[in-house]
């Protein structure tokens, strides 16, 4: 017996998403045998960037996502600077790291307490935290629920910390090619540091223990939701002026190996479109050559997300991937491993921020006259909280001719590719036992472990067609 459950809306994510799972019942066992992940919002950022001044890119791309705008601002300036292979002064590097780091801390805390935790523990008995699916909610996590107000305050403070140098959060326009607009002062450094110590304490005393507590009550989730077992990171947080060393370096692994390969060459990234609403002539192009010719409807296609592949394989990106390729977390690949890696990464970043504060020079500029060029190609490869983020820009006669963004959620929530290989999230869902197909909390837990950010997945659209089967009920 087979049923299809449509979870629409998938809530407690950033953005708009629908997931369709096929649940097969055999004897008493119910299991997901097929999964399709679809984003349901398309805005066309690459189109509206064309013809604009390249300096507009860091402003406009920050509005791809309001949870990780700083990552887009950072990656856009990196792409612009890459056109002339320009490296900004040390102060700029540090101020960018600090502001970006503040947003990482904010985003991870927000994700665990506001988005993911409610899959495992009941929130306050008022809307919007009530009603909820009443399936497999285990006891023993009262503390986690009680920490919600402190977590809300902590993430608000993380944004205040980011505004100290960044000016405003969530979006900051201190990010500019050539450097950073604001200058550090003794007072602002002290203010940042005081927020940072409070937050580091929160991560150590509240956030990490809470994640560990959830892992203890739900130990089966250390084996559920593994996915494709290929992990990739571009790397983030430059440690010195050579720009060759990052706090979390880039690299990749295949098949869950601990053997890390370095140098992620974006020439080996391709985007397949067999199951995406784009012309097949656009298939398997690298980001710099990527074209976006929408075709809708199209046989077999079900998503406006293209299917990014590296070395022709799907790759998972995110905190687990970053921590894994840097040898900081190798316990396993699962739902709970993602939450644990994310919490551990938050601590690692917070601790590094303290050192960056010490390295700031109060009397030195954070901006150098930027050698822009009226034509050229540039690539910015960095990380958002959710994983590897790339911006590719082509400038002709001082205007943007071509702009391409591949976001982390495009990797994670991608549809099947030209070889019919499902994307990482789809793979993680397939094979998972489900208690109640009408309330598939197991699927929600897997989806949330990736911290999906669907606004980022710019190529998405919802098919204008009736779904295959209506959910629930018997065959």
């Amino acid at each position: 017996m087979q049923t299809i459950t449509i979870i629409d809306p998938v809530t407690r994510i950033e953005g708009h998403m629908k997931v369709e799972i096929t649940v097969y019942t055999d004897g008493g066992q119910k299991k997901i045998v097929d999964a399709r992940c679809t984003g349901t919002l398309f805005r066309g950022f690459e189109t509206l960037l064309n013809g604009r001044s390249p300096l507009d890119a860091p402003v406009i791309t920050q509005r791809i996502c309001g949870v990780c705008p700083i990552s887009h601002g950072q990656t856009a300036v990196l792409a612009l600077e890459n056109v002339s292979e320009w490296l900004p002064p040390a102060n700029a590097r540090l101020l960018r790291n600090l502001t970006l780091g503040a947003n990482f801390v904010q985003s991870h805390i927000l994700h665990f307490y506001l988005l993911a935790a409610l899959d495992y523990v009941a929130g306050p008995a008022v809307s919007p935290w009530k009603p909820a699916w009443q399936v497999d909610m285990r006891d023993g996590l009262g503390n986690v629920a009680a920490n919600l107000p402190a977590a809300l305050e902590a993430r608000r403070h993380a944004h205040e910390m980011g505004a100290v140098f960044g000016g405003k959060m969530p979006a900051s326009h201190a990010f500019i090619p050539g450097g950073f607009t604001s200058n550090p002062t003794r007072e602002s450094i002290d203010k940042f540091r005081s927020y940072l110590s409070e937050l580091t304490e929160f991560i150590n005393d509240v956030y990490l223990p809470d994640v560990q507590a959830v892992g203890k009550v739900y130990p089966d989730y250390l084996e559920i939701g593994t996915g494709c077992r290929n992990l990739m990171a571009y790397g983030v947080f430059e440690m010195d002026d050579t720009y060759n060393e990052r706090l979390l370096n880039g690299g990749y692994i295949e098949n869950g190996s601990v053997e890390v390969k370095h140098a992620v060459d974006s020439q080996n990234i391709r985007e397949a479109v067999k199951y995406s609403w784009y012309s097949d002539s656009n298939s398997n192009l690298s980001p710099m050559d990527g074209a976006t010719q929408p075709i809708f409807p199209k046989q077999d296609a079900y998503s406006w997300l293209k299917a990014p592949r590296f070395l022709d394989k799907p790759f998972e990106v995110g905190p687990l991937a970053r921590m894994w390729v840097n040898g900081e977390y190798n316990r396993g690949i699962s739902v709970m491993d993602r939450h644990l890696a994310r919490a551990n990464e938050t601590l690692k970043i917070a601790e590094a921020m303290d050192a960056w504060l010490d390295q700031l020079q109060v009397d030195q500029t954070a901006y150098d006259d930027y050698f822009d060029q009226h034509s050229g190609l540039g690539a910015g490869m960095s990380e958002a909280p959710r994983g590897a983020l790339g911006h590719w820009i082509q400038i002709t006669d001082g205007k943007i001719e071509h702009y391409q963004v591949i976001t982390p959620t495009c990797w994670n929530a991608s549809p099947k590719d030209d070889q019919d290989v499902p994307g990482p999230m789809e793979q993680a869902l397939i094979g998972t036992p489900v208690e109640d197909p009408d309330q598939p909390i197991e699927a929600l837990r897997i989806i949330h472990s990736y911290d999906p950010c669907l606004s980022c997945a710019v190529h998405i659209i919802q098919p204008d067609q009736k779904p295959v089967v209506v959910h629930a009920g018997s065959q």
Binding site: P9, L41, R43, L48, L115, V126, L148, I176, D369
Partner: protein, 512 residues
């Protein structure tokens, strides 16, 4: 988590000034909450073509007493029945919450613009009985019975960034789709205080007075520039300067908001406070009205280091001359160039940069046969100076001159620019204008052929204006340079075909 109404009122009274809530509104809130039988108003929140920045910003709400977080406010004083980013329920259960809320009284809050392309299917919000419900349908369904509609953020209010040219998904504002007035609380993202202020008004039974763009007039009543703390403090020409940012492109003069008073993130800082230009994000027309955001013409600022090599024909210092340099040094601590020497009594000595040729100034020789020249912030700081008097000239190295890595000559790159390059068909005249350092010579060339069209000096106002009537060919692009710094600019209205024909003509002529 839940705070009582008394605390909320105490907060409103205490923070009325900071939040900007009129006390009359607070009084009405008091009355409204006095009646315990009054139900908390339900709020249905829809996500249009958004980025979630407005919800994240809302979670950053300022508070020094009373509700600590927007969650307190929203759960204690309104009933947030449906909000996809926050609610525990998913799928069908979430849709059920929505339908229950919609069956009674509710406030509709929307963030994100509403796309109309593909009949709205670039943004679908839920599945109902197997059918995808678009954001457009959702707004049309819920707007008629809403007690009030809040368009949160610039996208919902006016279309915003997804609606920017060429508006690929046909974004419309919420009020256009709803067919009714909405209370527009713009900002990209919006400021949490603005939303809380509006909600507090609604709880008190008041719809705030709106301006001609549907924004609460009290919140968006004056351009930032009018009372900006940086007004009149000098003009920043380079990022990182802590003065007025108008020259860099700040939109403060054209943007109504109170960011300069309220600031952001619990008054931690604000855009201009971080030396970042205001983008005009609360205005109808953002971003296209203000794009490009920076007053920097991208890609036409090729910067070449000025050549500080001694010219080949420098006359050697002869023993027979009376003109001598006894000292030439650069004082970094007070940014001063000092050159001293000897010469013919009462004659004039001119001092120039030996490599750049820039004349720095002139002094007369005193009765003791000595002359002294000093200048603060010379542009460029020469590594060698040349002094001339009565036909003689002497060249000398400047002690302690900064290493010639180009950064010392920042001033030139800041001040030399082409502001206008235009062909006038009626007058048959080429006009090229710009700014530079007084006294510098500007070479004006046809960028494609590198033919020199002419030279012009920069006037006392720091401006240069080059005119040429009836040029042999109209250049499509101008290249102008001064002291080794070159800029380029396309010529407005240049007849493209004619110039290329002219070039062809030249090729034929030279080949003949």
């Amino acid at each position: 988590m839940q705070l009582d109404r008394r605390q909320f009122l105490k907060y409103c009274i205490g923070s009325a000034a900071a939040l900007g809530l009129p006390l009359t509104v607070v009084g009405k809130l008091e009355k409204a909450f006095a009646d315990d039988s009054v139900q908390l108003p339900k709020v249905i929140w829809l996500n249009g073509a958004n980025c979630t920045g407005c919800t994240v910003s809302l979670a950053n709400r300022f508070s020094d007493q009373g509700p600590k977080d927007v969650a307190d406010l929203l759960t204690g004083y309104i009933n947030l029945a449906f909000h996809p980013n926050l609610m525990a329920a998913a799928g069908d259960l979430a849709v059920q919450c929505l339908k229950e809320a919609a069956s009674g009284g509710y406030i509709l809050a929307v963030d994100g613009g509403i796309p109309t392309a593909f009949n709205g299917h670039t943004c679908t919000l839920w599945t109902d009985g197997g059918k995808d419900i678009t954001a457009k349908e959702a707004v049309q369904l819920l707007a008629p019975n809403a007690a009030a509609i809040l368009s949160i953020g610039t996208c919902a209010s006016f279309g915003g960034i997804p609606g920017a040219d060429p508006n690929p998904t046909g974004i419309a504002s919420v009020s256009e789709i709803a067919g009714k007035t909405t209370i527009n609380i713009p900002g990209c993202p919006t400021h949490p205080d603005w939303v809380v202020w509006t909600v507090a008004n609604l709880l008190a039974g008041e719809i705030p007075e709106l301006d001609d763009r549907g924004r609460p007039r009290l919140l968006f009543n004056e351009e930032i520039h009018k009372k900006c703390p940086r007004k009149g403090t000098g003009e920043a020409h380079v990022f990182g300067e802590e003065t007025c940012l108008k020259e860099l492109g700040c939109k403060g003069p054209r943007t109504k908001a109170d960011c300069h008073i309220r600031k952001w993130n619990d008054a931690t800082n604000w855009c201009i406070g971080a030396n970042a230009v205001c983008l005009g994000c609360t205005e109808d027309g953002f971003p296209d009205k203000f794009s490009p955001f920076y007053n920097i013409e991208y890609g036409y600022q090729t910067y070449e280091k000025p050549v500080e090599e001694p010219p080949e024909d420098d006359p050697p210092n002869s023993d027979n001359t009376t003109l001598r340099i006894t000292k030439a040094e650069w004082r970094a601590e007070n940014s001063e160039l000092k050159v001293e020497g000897e010469g013919q009594v009462a004659s004039i000595v001119t001092v120039s940069g030996a490599g750049s040729g820039v004349m720095l100034g002139a002094v007369s020789v005193g009765s003791d046969g000595r002359w002294r020249f000093s200048q603060k912030d010379p542009v460029p700081i020469p590594s060698r100076v040349k002094v001339e008097s009565s036909g003689e000239s002497v060249v000398e190295n400047v002690a302690n001159a900064p290493a010639d890595d180009g950064t010392a000559t920042d001033g030139i790159s800041k001040t030399f620019s082409i502001k206008k390059a235009e062909w006038s068909v009626e007058k048959l005249e080429l006009k090229v204008e710009g700014e530079g350092r007084f006294g510098a010579m500007v070479d004006v060339l046809d960028a494609s052929t590198e033919t020199l069209l002419g030279k012009i000096a920069v006037d006392a106002y720091g401006k240069w204006k080059f005119r040429q009537k009836n040029p042999l060919s109209v250049p499509v692009r101008i290249r102008a340079g001064s002291n080794g710094i070159w800029r380029e600019k396309n010529v407005l209205n240049a007849p493209q075909a004619i110039s290329s024909l002219n070039r062809l003509f030249e090729k034929i002529v030279s080949a003949a």
